[in-house]
């Protein structure tokens, strides 16, 4: 039976646990940092020597840690791309611009256990020879910024930050930078531009890969809050032990933000892949099921950008049988293990691990119009397909939800959405704004067509009614 497994949020919700230094130290805080800083040089069988930082980097690779921000990219691999020979300083940025609709996990860490993040960051900085790090926090989280600044102050006072940290000769400074309220600042190159004081226009890649040409054109690591916290636990547990959590290639734990029409919305930390979507929605330990008398209609499984799943959908998942042979197993949407790879096989993604549940009371066209409005508002407008397409889709959907639809609008909308994703835009926002439209249309097209048809019928009736002299409220022309 699926269980919560609290690694990151082990103490956060305990009664009496406070975000200050004393409380964190009472709960064993900064021990992982001391362990990391004290790692002796390791002699390898081939005669090579591995420094402490190199060992941590190696251990993060062994741990199989994947990024918790949305893309699920291997953290160890990301770190291995960093250009360490350029002679330029290396920067580390914590991406705390959590703004994917449905997602509210990072703010739990920041608000309740900020030192865990800072410890994870200091270790990550030490592992990557970083002397200056930033926490880029979403503009709408002023309380989080205040808590982090207080925590940084405490960490400096204890010499966990600053010059000659704990007498090891390692120097590190860390700053909190508040965003100004734009979703696009969560895109790592947009974030870097914003941090440089510019408009957060994502950079083109090539050539501006952060690992080579990041902040101030220097090698830069950008990691999510939860990812950086995990580094602390990798040092505590060792990479190999950490990798035993979760399932192969989907190691560790994830904090799932569960919202929508379930009885117990909230955040739940699970071992990756050890709970299914169905368990997360229906198990009394998690969502506790839908409201009385309601049936499941749709699930957005990984933040609003991920492709929607429809109740009753079946997928062919690759599994290994008893002899280790790969077989395809038909799996219901509710039986999908909640991990990176299973959801990818189902044609969607676990993204920022934010599950939005919709029951049969939801107007699917209205739900998409709501999402679409968000993306039209948040597109930075740098590149053409996303700038124009996001607003076009929104205007169409607003028309559909305001009684001015047409029967052909479903196809019309689909064609607009098809012109945006697939590498046509500078950043993944193009995908983020078009995938919901494409997937809603693919799975609920009849509802869009029906809505348009009903509007057409009403307009036709209004015209014939007017001709017959009866009074029917006219529909405003668009």
């Amino acid at each position: 039976m699926a269980q919560e497994y609290k690694l990151i949020l082990k103490h956060a919700d305990e009664p009496g646990y406070t975000p200050d230094m004393e409380c964190y130290l009472r709960h064993g805080g900064y021990q992982a940092l001391k362990k990391a800083l004290a790692l002796p040089v390791k002699d390898l069988p081939d005669g090579k020597k591995l420094s402490g930082p190199e060992q941590i980097r190696e251990d993060v690779k062994v741990s199989g840690l994947r990024g918790r921000g949305g893309a699920g990219f291997s953290c160890g691999l990301k770190w291995s791309f960093v250009d360490r020979k350029s002679g330029k300083p290396i920067y580390l940025i914590c991406n705390a611009d959590e703004s994917e609709p449905g997602t509210f996990k990072d703010r739990q860490i920041i608000h309740k256990d900020p030192h865990q993040l800072i410890e994870g960051m200091i270790i990550s900085c030490f592992a990557n020879d970083v002397k200056l790090a930033y926490i880029y926090i979403r503009g709408e989280m002023p309380e989080g910024a205040r808590i982090l600044n207080q925590a940084l102050k405490e960490a400096r006072a204890k010499n966990f930050l600053g010059k000659n940290i704990l007498g090891t000769g390692y120097d590190l400074e860390m700053h909190v930078h508040r965003g100004a309220g734009a979703y696009i600042c969560g895109e790592e190159t947009g974030l870097i531009e914003s941090l440089e004081g510019k408009r957060p226009y994502p950079r083109i890649k090539p050539p501006y890969f952060p690992a080579i040409l990041g902040l101030w054109m220097c090698p830069t690591i950008v990691n999510n809050v939860e990812t950086l916290c995990n580094v602390k636990h990798i040092v505590t547990l060792s990479g190999a032990e950490f990798a035993k959590l979760g399932t192969p290639n989907n190691t560790g734990t994830r904090i799932v933000s569960l919202s929508g029409q379930v009885k117990r919305p909230g955040y739940y930390e699970i071992e990756v892949g050890k709970a299914t979507l169905g368990e997360l929605i229906n198990d009394p330990k998690f969502g506790g099921g839908l409201r009385e008398g309601r049936r499941l209609k749709a699930i957005i499984p990984g933040g609003s950008s991920s492709k929607v799943l429809k109740a009753g959908e079946k997928f062919k998942l690759k599994k290994k049988d008893a002899e280790g042979k790969e077989i395809l197993v038909e799996t219901d949407v509710l039986d999908l293990p909640y991990d990176f790879d299973s959801l990818a096989q189902a044609g969607t993604m676990s993204g920022s691990s934010a599950i939005i549940v919709m029951d049969d009371s939801v107007d699917i066209v209205g739900a998409l119009a709501n999402l679409s409005e968000f993306y039209a508002h948040e597109s930075c407008g740098q590149c053409t397909p996303c700038r124009e397409g996001s607003l076009w889709m929104n205007r169409t959907l607003q028309r559909l939800t305001h009684g001015e639809g047409r029967r052909q609008d479903a196809d019309y909308l689909g064609k607009i959405a098809d012109n945006i994703p697939g590498g046509r835009t500078i950043c993944a926002f193009g995908e983020a704004c078009s995938w919901p439209v494409q997937s809603f249309l693919a799975k609920f097209k009849d509802e869009f067509v029906a809505k348009g048809a009903a509007d057409e019928a009403r307009r036709a009736q209004s015209i014939s009614g007017a001709a017959a002299g009866t009074s029917v409220a006219p529909v405003a022309p668009h």
Partner: protein, 581 residues
């Protein structure tokens, strides 16, 4: 080995390695590195490779002289690279050719470097579909007001719509409305609805002009180009943003609503406002000049010119232009005047004639004057004209042909030092005849380095002693000019000349670039190109016939003037040749 040969064998800059790529199936060799917008060698991009392969890749935001931003997405192409096996060795097809792994995602050709063996596909159905998609996106909120848009006829939205767009629109929503006729600065007007947000203007003024004056406000489809509040877009290079704007968003207040672009005749010419010699195109129709635009010349002005030079054309069409030949206050004719002048000069005792030429005259004209000078034993000089230089194009020397005056022997290295001697000669009665070309020597005004268009070309900068009173002592004051002024009013002989836009010729720039320019419009009345009547005069006075065309004059000059040896009119091409100065 001779010394010369040794010099030639000096180790050259290391040759740039060539790599082979295929563009739409055609193999082509391209350099691995190519100069980017700032001149720095950077890996060759797909769009540059396609350009070398003479394959057009449509683009809006990419400009060879501006940093790459990759935002318009018009240049998306498909591509493939040689597939590598697990052993990192190329996988081969059965016929031995390398197997190409086609990328699942397209790439912007403006920012993606080429690699050996890469294949670029610019004509696939997917590429066609992507271009259609981008064009559709650009047009849905565009006002489609081509009939009243100044850019019509030279608009990339129009051109690419014809080449790559769709014939019908399916857009049924309300368009986004943005500010129109926005006064960005003294010379620039913005129509934000026409703007496609390529940011060329922002990059030009920030990275080329060094004035970070423009930016984008708002978000998404509501993005709008704007200046900082209360800070007008006003530097000496603002009008270049009108040139780089691929659509009708930025327009020149000077050219706005004046003439449809397709009616303009474009004539290759050179700006005469300073010694830089920016290459320009003169846009004219029915003998009227409507605009100057910069013409690419990487050795001189890249693709730019300053606003002051660009707007310095209106005097050419002034109503009070000198249009007649005057002899002692009476209208005369060219044959009569030239005959009289020739007789007079032939009889003049050596040293009794002085020549004040202008460094705004062409090489050929100055060379012809130098021939008169030699025959007459005359003192000669020209008038220096100084202003402030800037870091980009404007030279402190505001004469377009100072080096021409020096190389032809009209003046010394330091221009103007003979003026005192000429003044003394007139005062002592030794100099009886003064020939003045294109300079209002009586006026001592300065100030022509302001941004405002200048009203006249005849403004003398340096002070000297040749006053109107002194000129009254002369037996003959022979003046050729374009506009009437105090000196032409005092003259016994007035010979109406032609503006550079009204004739052909060459200038030698401050850096020794010999550049030719063509005739855009006719001179008014009987005004003639100075070289035409000067060569007649020289023929009559010296008996030398140097040719009747500007080509033959130039070629003869190139044979006689050391610095120009080896040059021919034809070899100058459109962008000129640099000589030792």
């Amino acid at each position: 080995m001779s010394a010369a040969a040794t010099t030639e064998n000096k180790p050259a800059a290391p040759a740039i390695e060539k790599i082979k790529v295929k563009v739409d199936g055609r193999e082509i060799e391209v350099p691995r590195l190519i100069a980017d917008w700032s001149g720095k060698l950077t890996p060759t991009t797909m769009i540059q490779a396609c350009e070398l392969a003479k394959t057009e890749v449509p683009h809006y935001c990419w400009h060879p002289k501006l940093p790459v931003v990759g935002n318009c997405r018009m240049c998306l192409v498909e591509f493939g690279t040689p597939a590598l096996g697990p052993d990192r060795k190329p996988v081969l097809n059965p016929d031995g050719t390398p197997k190409i792994a086609k990328s699942p995602r397209p790439a912007i050709s403006c920012a993606t470097p080429v690699s050996p063996g890469m294949e670029i596909y610019t004509k696939t159905p997917a590429v066609k579909q992507m271009r259609e998609g981008v064009l559709e996106s650009l047009l849905i909120n565009h006002p489609l007001d081509c009939p009243i848009c100044d850019q019509a006829g030279e608009c990339k939205l129009q051109e690419y719509s014809v080449d790559y767009g769709q014939s019908a629109s399916r857009f049924v929503e309300a368009k986004v409305h943005k500010p129109k006729a926005v006064d960005l600065g003294p010379r620039i007007m913005l129509d934000a609805e026409r703007c496609i947000l390529c940011t060329r203007c922002i990059r030009f003024t920030r990275d080329i002009a060094g004035d970070d004056a423009l930016g984008i406000i708002n978000r998404g489809s509501y993005n709008t180009i704007a200046t900082f509040p209360g800070a007008p877009f006003d530097n000496n290079y603002t009008l270049n943003t009108v040139d780089v704007c691929p659509v009708g968003a930025l327009t020149s207040k000077d050219f706005r609503f004046q003439m449809r672009a397709w009616f303009l005749k474009e004539t290759k010419s050179v700006c005469t406002s300073c010694a830089t010699g920016c290459n320009i195109l003169i846009g004219s129709r029915e003998e009227k000049i409507y605009r100057y635009t910069p013409r690419d010349n990487d050795a001189v002005n890249a693709s730019w010119m300053c606003d002051a030079g660009r707007l310095n054309y209106k005097w050419i069409g002034r109503a009070d232009r000198l249009q007649d030949v005057w002899v002692r206050g009476q209208k005369s004719s060219w044959p009569a005047a030239i005959r009289e002048l020739a007789d007079k000069l032939k009889q003049a005792p050596a040293g009794s004639v002085a020549i004040i030429a202008s460094a705004r005259q062409t090489n050929e004209e100055l060379w012809l004057l130098a021939k008169l000078k030699a025959r007459l034993g005359a003192l000669s000089d020209a008038i220096p004209r100084e202003g402030e230089s800037d870091k980009l194009l404007v030279s402190a020397d505001r004469n377009p042909n100072t080096n021409g005056a020096r190389l032809t022997g009209i003046c010394f290295t330091e221009m103007g030092i003979n003026l005192v001697k000429i003044a003394d000669g007139i005062a002592s009665g030794k100099i009886k005849t003064l020939i003045v070309f294109g300079e209002n020597i009586v006026k001592r005004a300065v100030a022509h380095d302001k941004l405002r268009e200048r009203e006249t070309i005849s403004e003398v900068v340096d002070e000297h002693g040749i006053t109107a009173e002194l000129l009254g002592k002369l037996d003959a004051l022979i003046v050729s000019d374009i506009l009437p002024n105090e000196t032409t009013r005092l003259a016994h002989f007035v010979l109406p000349g032609a503006a550079p836009a009204e004739k052909r010729g060459t200038f030698t720039s401050g850096k020794g670039r010999v550049q030719k320019f063509m005739k855009a419009v006719e001179a008014p009345g009987v005004a003639r190109a100075e070289w035409e009547f000067l060569q007649e005069l020289v023929h009559h006075v010296t008996g030398q016939n140097n040719g009747l065309t500007v080509e033959s004059l130039f070629n003869q000059m190139a044979r006689e003037v050391a610095a120009f040896n080896g040059l021919t009119w034809q070899a100058l091409g459109d962008t000129g040749v640099t000589v030792q100065i």
